[in-house]
């Protein structure tokens, strides 16, 4: 009897040992999403990045994700659960996960964390973001070319630098085509409220805007534009199927190259905490096909895209003036990333006040 128990114990131990060995070989990667994968916007694109990791590394990695995690204390629990389950690398993909990520990272010093759009790093927390403003410069140019009324409507979420620089970049692009281009901005104080976004789009179109763009996440404004005979741009992902006749292009977040790069770094043992801000050049920002526009406008957009990608053109190049006419950047100078990421003023040419 003793012998039998002993052999069972031995075989069990062997099974566990084998299990542990294969688990150690496999890197477990966790993802925390703020929305549902099916939002066809922000979280959807992060999940595309996860799938790219699986495709690139196959058996060497195992990925898990938790979707619809509310920003706040719930996030901390969700992140900790992933860390405890043996994840070696965890991506937390919303601004509001910043503090929870840092807290959990302190308790799990061996686990590596990647936080999207944040600005606080630590030894095992890296941050990453994308230069969406590069895309907004291009769509600004397209808007100025395509608009008959010379007025575009912009649905904005919150007056944070990320959003403000997008608005500025858009109007700077538009001004290269039409120096008197008008931009009407409505702040809806929400990232995602289709009803409000739709109302704002209707009001903007009612006031003469025939191009609608947005820095909010739902497809509602684009659908309203299509419905009312205006044109618009998608946000975060290609939204062409929601407005086949009205989407001009879309600024697409492509996290896959960065995600694959970071996973490779962990596998190679070269991962260090860093702050990455990639754009068109690295392929983190992509433009959806230029549709519903004449060939010359598409050609112009492609040219601008190529110039930004190759580094020949920076949307924020001097001379730049603030709304009140004061000099913001001297002629020929390119704005540094620090100034850019703290932007809290409108450039000249935008009517209306920036909420503080």
């Amino acid at each position: 009897m003793k012998k039998l128990i002993g052999s069972i114990a031995l075989s069990l131990a062997m099974v566990f040992a084998v299990g542990a060995a294969s688990a150690a070989e496999k890197l477990k990667i966790g993802f925390i999403y703020v929305g549902p994968i099916g939002d066809h916007g922000w979280s959807y694109q992060h999940d595309q990045g996860r799938l790219a990791i699986e495709k690139a590394f196959g058996d060497k990695v195992e990925t898990v994700y938790v979707e619809k995690v509310a920003e706040g204390p719930d996030a901390e629990r969700a992140i900790e659960r992933l860390a405890r389950k043996g994840a070696g690398l965890i991506f937390t993909t919303s601004f509001g996960f910043m503090e929870p990520t840092l807290k959990v990272a302190k308790r799990f010093p061996k686990v590596k964390f990647e936080h999207a759009t944040g600005y606080k790093q630590s030894k095992n927390v890296a941050t990453y973001n994308a230069r969406f403003y590069e895309g907004r410069y291009i769509i600004g140019q397209i808007a100025a070319k395509m608009s008959k009324s010379g007025t575009a409507g912009y649905i904005a979420s919150f007056p944070i630098p990320e959003v403000v620089m997008g608005i500025n970049s858009f109007i700077l692009g538009a001004q290269t085509i039409n120096p008197n281009f008008k931009l009407k901005v409505i702040w809806v104080n929400s990232w995602f409220d289709p009803g409000k976004e739709a109302d704002a789009a209707k009001v903007l179109i009612g006031q003469g805007a025939d191009i609608i763009t947005q820095h909010t996440d739902s497809t509602a404004p684009l659908q309203i534009a299509a419905d009312k005979g205006a044109m618009g741009f998608g946000q975060a992902s290609n939204m062409i199927k929601f407005a086949p006749k009205a989407q001009l292009t879309s600024i697409v977040d492509n996290w896959a190259p960065y995600y694959v790069r970071r996973v490779r770094a962990v596998l190679d043992g070269t991962w260090t905490s860093s702050n990455t801000w990639d754009g068109l050049t690295q392929g983190t920002v992509e433009m959806a096909p230029y549709t519903n526009m004449p060939a010359d406008v598409a050609a112009m957009a492609k040219k601008t895209q190529a110039m930004i990608t190759s580094g020949k053109l920076h949307p924020f190049t001097g001379p730049l003036y603030k709304q009140d006419g004061s000099m913001a950047l001297a002629a020929g100078k390119v704005m540094d990333d620090g100034t850019l990421s703290g932007m809290n003023w409108y450039v000249k040419g935008i009517d209306g006040n920036l909420p503080k």
């Binding site: 619809k68 289709p194 704002a200 179109i205 497809t219 659908q223 929601f242």
Partner: protein, 306 residues
């Protein structure tokens, strides 16, 4: 299309779901029942409306499904509060939580799909009249339904025997019972009516307002509707005014912002709530009027054997 015309059309769209949900809740509360589950019934109406419309490719079937979903949710509430005598406040709150969760589950498969838009009624000649045409005759059926239901509810409550019975049940259920009216059955009916209206409000959101399904897309409109009922001191005409006042202030806020007027955006987005609260305070200042119309038995359970 003129700017003024566009604003009016947008106000009508923004006000319709509020009016639908509020008029339903008004009738429920008139019978002495406080159903705090409006938000939950509304969101279930939205998801079931979208799911049915998408599956069948018919917006009208979607409207029917939204109605049924709202009635179904409210009957659950009625069974718990009227038959099993649970607390109305707690049950109503749970109904909201249940609706928000369950709609997310049902809607999982329908997230991010292009929607079916409820078409506007196109009345020959009338819809083509400039200005008046689009404003009076260019809407979908639910806009007209919301107005018809409000008028109908006012008529039934104040001009018919049924209305008197509902008011009696809400005012003093023991007396109504003594007179031989079936209090529970009347309340079941009023709760179901309220649920149906909330369901229609939800269907309006996912089929007309923004034709798609998005989790939590009712975003608090059910609560606004509940507040409107109190603001109106349980009078249908005032619910109509309240819903349109709220919608108008909200849209005007956006309008003013787009014009570039220097009023902080945060203040403008809170203005509809502020205006509604101020109106509520002014109206409840008239004590007699409030007393006359407040259903005295609101929120109280009724056991016939007592």
């Amino acid at each position: 299309m003129g700017a003024f015309e566009a604003v009016i059309l947008t106000i009508i769209t923004a006000s319709t779901p509020l009016l639908l949900a509020a008029i339903g809740e008004l009738v429920t509360e008139r019978s002495g029942v406080l159903n705090l589950g409006v938000e939950g019934m509304m969101i279930m109406g939205a998801v079931c409306g979208f799911a049915a419309a998408y599956t069948s490719q018919s917006a009208m079937l979607g409207v029917a499904a939204g109605l049924i979903a709202g009635v179904g949710m409210s009957l659950l509430f009625a069974f718990l509060t009227q038959t099993l005598m649970t607390s109305q406040v707690a049950t109503g709150l749970s109904l909201t939580l249940l609706g928000l969760g369950l709609s997310g589950l049902i809607g999982e498969a329908f997230t991010g799909l292009p929607g079916i838009k409820l078409a506007a009624l196109d009345i020959p000649f009338l819809s083509d009249i400039p200005f008046i045409g689009p404003i009076l005759f260019g809407h979908d059926i639910l806009v007209y339904a919301s107005l018809a239901i409000t008028a109908g509810a006012a008529y039934v409550l104040f001009r018919t025997r049924l209305g008197l019975i509902i008011t009696a049940v809400g005012g003093n259920h023991h007396s109504a019972h003594a007179l031989g009216y079936n209090v529970i059955r009347v309340r079941y009916g009023c709760i179901a009516f309220g649920g149906g209206c909330s369901g229609l409000a939800g269907a309006y959101l996912s089929l007309a307002y923004t034709p798609q399904w998005i989790e939590n897309m009712s975003s608090g409109r059910g609560w606004i509707a509940l507040a409107l009922v109190v603001f109106s001191t349980w009078l249908p005409g005032r619910v109509l005014i309240g819903a349109y006042l709220f919608g108008a202030v909200w849209i005007m806020g956006l309008y003013v912002q787009a014009l570039g007027v220097a009023i902080p955006a945060q203040l403008l987005s809170s203005l509809p709530y502020l205006v509604t609260i101020v109106a509520l305070i002014i109206i409840s200042g008239n004590k007699t009027l409030t007393k006359v119309n407040t259903p005295a038995c609101i929120g109280q359970p009724f056991a016939p054997e007592r």
